[in-house]
Amino acid sequence: MNSKLILIIDDEEPIQKVVRLSLKLEANWQIICASSGLEGIDLAEHHHPDAILLDVMMPEIDGINTFERLNKNVDTQHIPVILLTAKTGTAEKRLFQKIGVTGVITKPFDPLTLASQIAKLLQWTL
């Protein structure tokens, strides 16, 4: 499988580090990180990643707003977005499904299976 480029948008640097290491170890994917929604949109426009892992609760513009902006942007709207969130309520899950994200992975996630979870959602093979 060709190496994938994954964009992580999360304001928490420790999460970025764990995800980065996990995906590198398990799938050897390339990782770029953004610490805010606006930075993430900018990176997405320029690097056209294969998938975006997007945190929901972030300052300035949150994950939902970021997703909507990415979705409206012709350069980024084709990029699959997987929400990486601590919000686990049923109502929240329904909201995420409604806005059309590709998938939702709940924090805390298992770093050993994170890559396979992403691959399964995106129908990639590892």
């Binding site: 996990s22 919000k87 049923t90 996630f109 770093p111 050993l112």
Partner: protein
């Protein structure tokens, strides 16, 4: 008026006609009549009138008989005791005494009223006086003497009547009789109830022994003698020593002790009291005593006048006794009535006092209520059946700027903006139908800010005479819940923050530990590996705990809205079983299913969450190589906490394991938060103590029931029901 019919040369009608008879209405009471009669001692009858016409005669004897025989004599009127028919004669018809005597002989009368041409009463003819005047024509001198005697008798009677004290009356009587008759001794002998007797009054010349106060044994005056005197016997003995005197030898000795030569005895009849008349079998006369005159110096021939005087004075004593009795009776009645009035007065005073106390207590209570209602931070109002305010507390003024006095009597609609009235109208109508209503709303206070309020309407129900409930209105209580709402919002925000802020470092911690544990970042010593495993397991448990706490909080706060829909229960069980397969394999547990297709009305995500929780528990508490069975079957009537009428068909889910089982005494509490069967075991299994509580909350929100059955050492069965869909 004069006539001569041969019986007398100078017969005068005036001598036999009493021109001023006592008259009284037929409705006059006996006591009043008696008073009239005794006020004029020379009179012995009353002419009874009705509408100025003579209707009959009542004699002194009639009155005494009535008083002594009729226990209710105090209530009697003269009309009831008239003894003589109203036979009258016109003055113009008075021809000769013989003609009038013939009338007396033909009629059972002793008195004959005389009327003028206009039927006015002009006098009464006495039969006795007519007889005396015609049979023994006396010279004028004799008549004058008789008149003087009558005057004398009247004077004595008047003296007697000057006192109401019986003792004085009796003493005056004996003194006057002794004086008039010039008797040596006059005494009154009273017969006592035990048959003995006593001289109670006496007037005696100094030369002779006194008997006053002496008691006499019954033998002196035996019972059969008493009865004879009671019937009116008069004993007149000229000479006690004469052979025809009829006095026994033994008595003669007794008599000689008192120097008695001659004696005259008349009975004093004792009228029975009203009570005695009811109980004693008597003709109404009882012998009270004797009026006795003694002549000690020599034998004496008692004259008719003396006899008559004694009789009349004895009658006067009887009247005095009657009056005394009447007085005593009236005094007793007055005493009783006074006692009754005193008691009534006391009771009234007490009632007045109690009422005053009640009124004071009511005023204090009202004052306290007013104080309380006016200072409570709640809008309190009473609304009548026509939706008019009957009461508003001061909070209406403080909060809304509406004066309670101004609001009184006004309809809610007239003081409420139309849009708001439209919102609350259904609640008002429901309350007036007898339903207790509680709702939340937003209202603008006088500070022009919107406040969240909770409003309760409590119907004022009154039971009618036939037990039918009538709604008079309702009480309205409005509480400002703005602060509570703000706190709830803060709590929600806090939970959201905690959710994120806890999970984020947990995610990093959890991920880092997992990656280290792979050994791909470098190898650790055995001890290092062990510590890493401890950190990893603890992190896992912390993650589950945080998840469960947040889940439970959301469900309990009502923040979670169940998205009910029709779903296939068997699919949900399969889905949960599949999700738990990985864990089952790790524990070498086999999951079996016994399913059938059932449509239920539920939120599928929450049912799967419940099932995975129960399956997870079953796996954790089963030994390796055991089976877990998931079954599903329909129930015609689901067990419910509500009434049987409200139970409905349901799907019965069952998760059965063959683990260690649960003690019976723990089965009731395992669904309570942090109530684990064995906390140390639970920690070992990584439980949080909240899983079953969450399951119960979810099932309750679906209108179902959850429970467990277990046998120690053999395993447990966890059941829950979910209503079948109508389709």
């Amino acid at each position: 008026m004069e006539c001569d019919d041969g019986v007398g040369e100078h017969f005068l009608w005036e001598e036999v006609i009493d021109p001023h008879p006592i008259t009284a209405s037929s409705q006059t009471s006996l006591s009043r009549a008696l008073a009239k009669l005794t006020a004029q001692p020379v009179k012995d009858c009353i002419v009874v009138m009705r509408s100025n016409r003579v209707v009959g005669i009542v004699t002194q004897q009639n009155l005494l008989t009535a008083i002594s025989q009729r226990h209710n004599w105090t209530k009697l009127r003269l009309a009831k005791v008239i003894s003589q028919p109203a036979t009258t004669i016109l003055q113009a018809d008075l021809s000769t005494p013989a003609a009038v005597l013939e009338i007396f002989e033909q009629q059972p009368i002793s008195k004959l009223p005389v009327l003028d041409e206009q039927n006015n009463l002009v006098g009464v003819i006495s039969h006795q006086r007519l007889l005396q005047a015609t049979s023994h024509p006396e010279p004028v001198v004799s008549i004058q003497r008789q008149h003087q005697r009558a005057q004398l008798f009247a004077e004595i009677t008047l003296k007697i009547r000057q006192s109401l004290q019986l003792k004085d009356i009796l003493q005056t009587t004996v003194e006057e009789v002794q004086n008039l008759l010039n008797a040596d001794r006059v005494l009154i002998y009273q017969v006592l109830p035990d048959g003995t007797g006593k001289a109670t009054s006496e007037a005696v010349k100094d030369a002779y022994p006194a008997v006053l106060g002496m008691a006499f044994p019954e033998e002196v005056f035996p019972k059969d003698y008493q009865q004879l005197y009671a019937k009116g016997r008069i004993l007149e003995i000229k000479d006690v020593h004469a052979p025809d005197a009829g006095i026994a030898e033994c008595l003669l000795e007794f008599i000689e002790q008192w120097d008695i030569q001659s004696k005259l005895i008349v009975p004093i009849v004792y009228p029975l009291t009203p009570e005695q008349s009811q109980t004693e079998p008597s003709d109404g006369h009882e012998l009270w005593g004797l009026l006795i005159a003694h002549q000690c110096e020599s034998p004496r021939q008692w004259t008719d006048f003396e006899l008559e005087l004694m009789q009349q004075l004895a009658a006067q004593i009887s009247i005095a006794l009657s009056q005394g009795q009447m007085l005593e009776y009236l005094e007793e009645r007055v005493k009783l009535r006074t006692a009754e009035l005193t008691e009534t007065n006391r009771a009234l005073q007490q009632e007045i006092q109690e009422r005053k106390q009640i009124e004071m207590a009511l005023r204090q209570s009202e004052e306290q209520m007013r104080l309380i209602t006016n200072n409570l931070p709640v809008l309190i109002a009473y609304v009548d059946a026509q939706q008019r305010y009957g009461f508003n507390n001061q909070a209406y003024n403080y909060w809304l700027g509406q004066d309670p006095v101004t609001l009184h009597g006004k309809s809610i609609q007239s003081v409420t903006i139309p849009e708001y009235y439209e919102k609350i109208q259904p609640h008002i109508e429901a309350a007036l139908q007898g339903e207790q209503v509680t709702y939340e709303s937003e209202i603008i206070f006088k500070d022009e800010r919107s406040h969240s309020v909770s409003v309760s309407y409590i119907p004022h129900v009154e039971l009618g005479s036939r037990g039918k409930a009538k709604i008079n209105g309702f009480f309205a209580l409005t509480t400002d819940i703005s602060d509570r709402k703000a706190i709830e919002r803060m709590k929600d925000e806090f939970i959201a923050v905690v959710s994120h802020e806890l999970r984020t470092p947990l995610t990093s911690l959890h991920g880092s530990l997992k990656l280290i544990a792979t050994g791909r970042l470098g190898h650790l010593s055995d001890e290092g590996q062990q510590m890493l495993a401890v950190a990893d397991e603890s992190t896992d448990r912390l993650v589950r705990l945080v998840n469960n706490v947040l889940d439970l909080q959301r469900i309990e706060s009502g923040d979670v809205t169940m998205d009910h829909g029709v779903c296939n229960a068997a699919d949900l069980v399969e889905q949960a079983a599949e999700a738990m397969q990985t864990m089952a394999k790790q524990h070498r547990i086999e999951i079996q299913t016994q399913l059938q297709s059932l449509s239920i009305w539920a939120d599928p995500d929450y049912i799967v969450q419940t099932l995975t929780n129960l399956i997870g528990n079953a796996i954790k508490f089963s030994a390796p190589n055991k089976k877990i069975t998931l079954s599903l079957q329909p129930l015609k009537t689901a067990p419910t906490d509500q009434s049987p009428e409200q139970s409905s068909p349901a799907a019965l889910f069952c998760v059965q394991d063959h683990g260690q089982g649960i003690p019976t005494d723990k089965l009731g509490s395992i669904f309570e938060r942090f109530h684990q069967v064995d906390s140390s075991d639970s920690r070992k299994k990584g439980g949080t103590g909240l899983g079953l509580t969450i399951c119960r909350k979810i099932i309750e929100q679906h209108g179902g029931t959850i429970w467990a059955e277990s046998q120690l050492g053999k395993g447990s069965k966890f059941y829950f029901t979910i209503p079948l869909s109508a389709n």
